[in-house]
């Protein structure tokens, strides 16, 4: 059977979190009553002119440097012309022929080791407004309204080379890219709020082939999971077509989250040309060496360096360090914990295990975690001091997550303190031995496993509060 190879390139749009928009003084704040963060410029009024926000350039340089790009000494803005109601001027100011930066890369971890993924270019552009449909969707709406609060909010578009060879690699690339943009503090990277958006170009070809297959462009993936699922679906679909001897069509497809499939949006043949040309309202942008050097000094520790440091300073396994540093907020949370409690590996276990599991299932960002670093550390201390057992700790943790209460209060209120009183435990142990003579017999007959069962019975009666080590010791004594 023929084997296939996948080729993926990603186009990522990240909103820059400057205070004002790229071409006017309006605030970039998310939310706000519709059409309150607007002015003649971002409404595309006749006679209004764009004025480039220097901070946007600075952020773009910062992101580009963190992605190992070359900064162009002269770049230019172009008009991308198309009609759509959310685009007030009927053109988007973007950078086509001379982007601010090009030729970068970032590293990703793959099952076969580290891999370098090329970044073709990074450019600045303005965002469009947002349509609000009066009805369920665009097709059935009676009318639509436009909110221009987002219009002219600064974006950088980061285009990867087609170096990604699987949906997993694409996911890893996006994870690392997001982390870098967060660490450099140029973007919030919130996919739900739309401050990070990702389109993908994907094709398949027979393994070892030198020529790429026909690609499709995928849109509308609103989460990291959606990106991976859409790519996985598309790989299957395209290979399926080729196996049936059919052709993959050059088209734009949209991810349907409910159905879990990609659907045709438009064929590339119908897609109109954007008639790019240099925007005569904006002068070419000159960036001198000193500016670039000045921005360079503001770049903080990046995720890859931080990962190295965690491995070195705390002896964390590479996997742990990778997960923790994949998000700036998570790394920050970890740092806070480590500062309060000296057991880096234990903290890492809790973060990567319980905390991430609960955050993910509840769709909560680490910034909004109901459990603070202080409370987590307090819980670990309670466990360490033998006040509660490990299994109780997990229950308390869940309670903390649900209610946001500190662990001590929960332990106190629910009476979850570990029973370490030998007299009290001895009585319970005796009771269990009386109720389970067969197991007692078995153990004495040499079946080691029977002890485990007996200990388990004690834990059950105490609802997990018995100090397991003491119980063990008591049984050994009495048996």
């Amino acid at each position: 059977m023929r084997e296939y190879e996948t080729v993926i390139g990603l186009e990522v749009h990240a909103e820059l979190k400057t205070e004002s928009k790229i071409f006017c003084a309006c605030t970039t704040e998310f939310g706000g009553e519709p059409n309150t963060h607007v002015c003649p410029v971002c409404l595309g009024m006749p006679g209004a002119l764009p004025v480039l926000n220097k901070k946007v350039v600075e952020y773009a340089i910062k992101a580009a440097l963190a992605l190992n790009c070359e900064i162009a000494s002269i770049c230019r803005f172009d008009r991308k012309n198309y009609f759509y109601p959310d685009l007030p001027k009927a053109y988007q100011i973007s950078q086509q022929d001379f982007p601010i930066a090009a030729g970068g890369y970032l590293m990703i971890n793959t099952p076969d080791g580290e891999k370098k993924i090329g970044i073709n270019r990074l450019h600045m552009e303005e965002d469009a407004g947002k349509l609000v449909h009066a009805g369920d969707d665009i097709a059935r709406a009676d009318y639509s309204l436009v909110d221009f609060n987002r219009s002219t909010v600064p974006l950088v578009e980061i285009v990867s080379e087609p170096h990604l060879r699987s949906p997993g690699e694409a996911r890893a690339y996006l994870d690392h890219l997001k982390a870098i943009l967060e660490y450099t503090e140029v973007s919030d990277c919130k996919m739900q709020e739309g401050s990070l958006r990702c389109d993908a170009n994907i094709s398949v070809m027979p393994k070892g082939s030198k020529e790429f297959g026909v690609k499709t462009e995928l849109k509308n993936m609103n989460s990291f999971r959606a990106l991976q699922r859409a790519l996985e679906y598309e790989v299957e679909r395209q290979i399926g077509l080729l196996k049936e001897g059919k052709e993959v069509l050059h088209e734009t497809r949209t991810w349907n989250e409910q159905k879990g499939i990609t659907e045709v949006l438009r064929s590339k043949e119908e897609a109109e040309g954007y008639r790019f040309f240099p925007d005569p309202d904006l002068m070419p942008l000159v960036i001198d060496e000193q500016w670039v050097e000045a921005v360079k000094t503001t770049i903080p520790e990046l995720p890859a360096d931080k990962k190295e440091r965690l491995m070195k300073d705390y002896d964390l396994p590479e996997y742990d360090a990778g997960v923790i540093t994949s998000s700036k907020s998570l790394a920050k949370f970890y740092d806070s914990c480590v500062g309060l409690y000296d057991d880096p590996k234990e903290i890492s276990n809790w973060l990567m295990g319980e905390l991430l599991r609960l955050l993910n299932t509840n769709n909560i960002e680490i910034e909004d975690s109901p459990i603070t670093a202080e409370n987590l550390v307090e819980l670990l201390k309670l466990q360490d001091e033998g006040v509660i057992s490990g299994s109780i700790a997990k229950k308390v943790f869940e309670e903390m997550f649900e209610t946001g209460t500190d662990p001590e209060t929960i332990v106190e209120k629910k009476g979850l303190k570990q029973i370490s009183d030998v007299g009290e435990l001895g009585q319970i142990v005796n009771g269990v031995m009386e109720k389970n003579p067969q197991s007692v017999e078995d153990y004495r007959g040499g079946k080691e496993r029977a002890l485990k069962f007996l200990v388990g019975q004690v834990m059950k009666e105490t609802r997990g509060k018995a100090n397991p080590q003491l119980v063990n010791e008591l049984f050994l004594k009495k048996l």
Partner: protein, 492 residues
Amino acid sequence: MDVSKLTITETRALLADRKINAQELINAFLSYIRKTDGDTKAFINVTEEQALMRAKKIDDAVKSGKNLGPLSGVPMGVKDNICTKDIKTTCASKMLDNFLPPYDATVVERLHDAGAITLGKLNMDEFAMGSSTENSYYFKTKNPWDGGRVPGGSSGGSAAAVASGQVVYSLGSDTGGSIRQPAAFCGVVGLKPSYGRVSRWGLVAFAPSMDQVGPITKNVRDCALVLNNIAGHDSLDTTSMDCEVPDYERALVDDIKGLRVGIPEEFFGKGTDPAVIDRVERAIGILEEQGAICEKTTLPNSKYALPVYYVIATCEASSGLARFDGVRFGCRSEAEDLVSMYKSTRAEGFGPEVKFRILLGTYLLGPENYDKYYTKALKVRTLIRDDFERAFKKYDILVSPTTPTTAFKFGERMSNPAAMRQSDLLTIPANMAGIPAITVPCGLVEGMPVGMQIMGRPFGEKTLLRAAYTYECHRGCDYMTPTTGGGLGEGV
């Protein structure tokens, strides 16, 4: 009181000497407009109420002894593609028939700060596209010298209003000659400043890489006075130059001894009426008498200026005018769905010349044409600019006719677009090069005014004004008006 012949200087003197107050003055102008504009039709909209309010404020300020701005109380008119806050700004298009800008253009704001009083908005070719003001959605404006002839365009209303004395001065915009050509046709002074000298904020764009706002006045001194108040960097327009603005009034010195004047032969070619050439050559004679050193020169690439202009201007316009889609402002045609709404709004809202230019620009920016036309046009534009740069190494100014002919008759060129475009032949090169150019009346041909064009180095408005002023001092009359038959006669 006959207000129709007042210059800025005279108006200021009348007000300063308390011979008349601002409200009386404005009322006199308004009644003169009422009397004449039924025939001339220079105004799309007379803003009587706002003008009188502004005049009252000035009178109150005078009473309380406040310092007044340099243009205080002087009435002006504004081309209707320059935004005026809460006053309709139509671009003479059905598309913007109901458009009320929420802001003033920087030029308007600066003039109002200087005390100017706007009497109304002036007619033009729709979206500044045309050379006769016949492309206005509203009506045709008559040339005050001959009611059967066009006032030129696109700033035809601005030129006619000044020539007929309805306003003391006006603002126009010039992308390929739209200030200078109508000023020449109407026998008044018109200046297209250097690209970047005057803010474009609030000027509804036609071709942003060439558009400039400039004054249309009765004489050169007024031109300098208006320029003084509109020139200079504007933080809202990054293409406006952040460099010092000299006092242009101080440039008005009657002395051009040793001034090196180049006479580009391409501007005196076959397409130009020999009678027009004759008047301009006589004017050059006056410059020589005053000590200028005049010499023939050549700008070989300027012959490509017209086609290059049409490529660049239509490309830019096709994109800039795309925002008129019926979604947010201006006219909207009701339709079943979005695309039909776009189509019918634009089909009904734009006139034929605008549609032609949008279609042409859209076509030229297409993937198969972009390099062939747009990129090539930019390259030729550089050559044209280089020609001028070379010439200005040798000459301080270049002198030519402003237009190949005097004002033509209504309808004469509407059916012949190529002939219509020829009337911008001599003005377009200055826009291509971004240099300043002024037109001053230099005589009549068959009773119609002829303009002499003076072009200068980028930001060299001072030299232009000095040359124009010196010529005006020795021309033989202070200024020409249609009512006095020009004062200059057929030959100077």
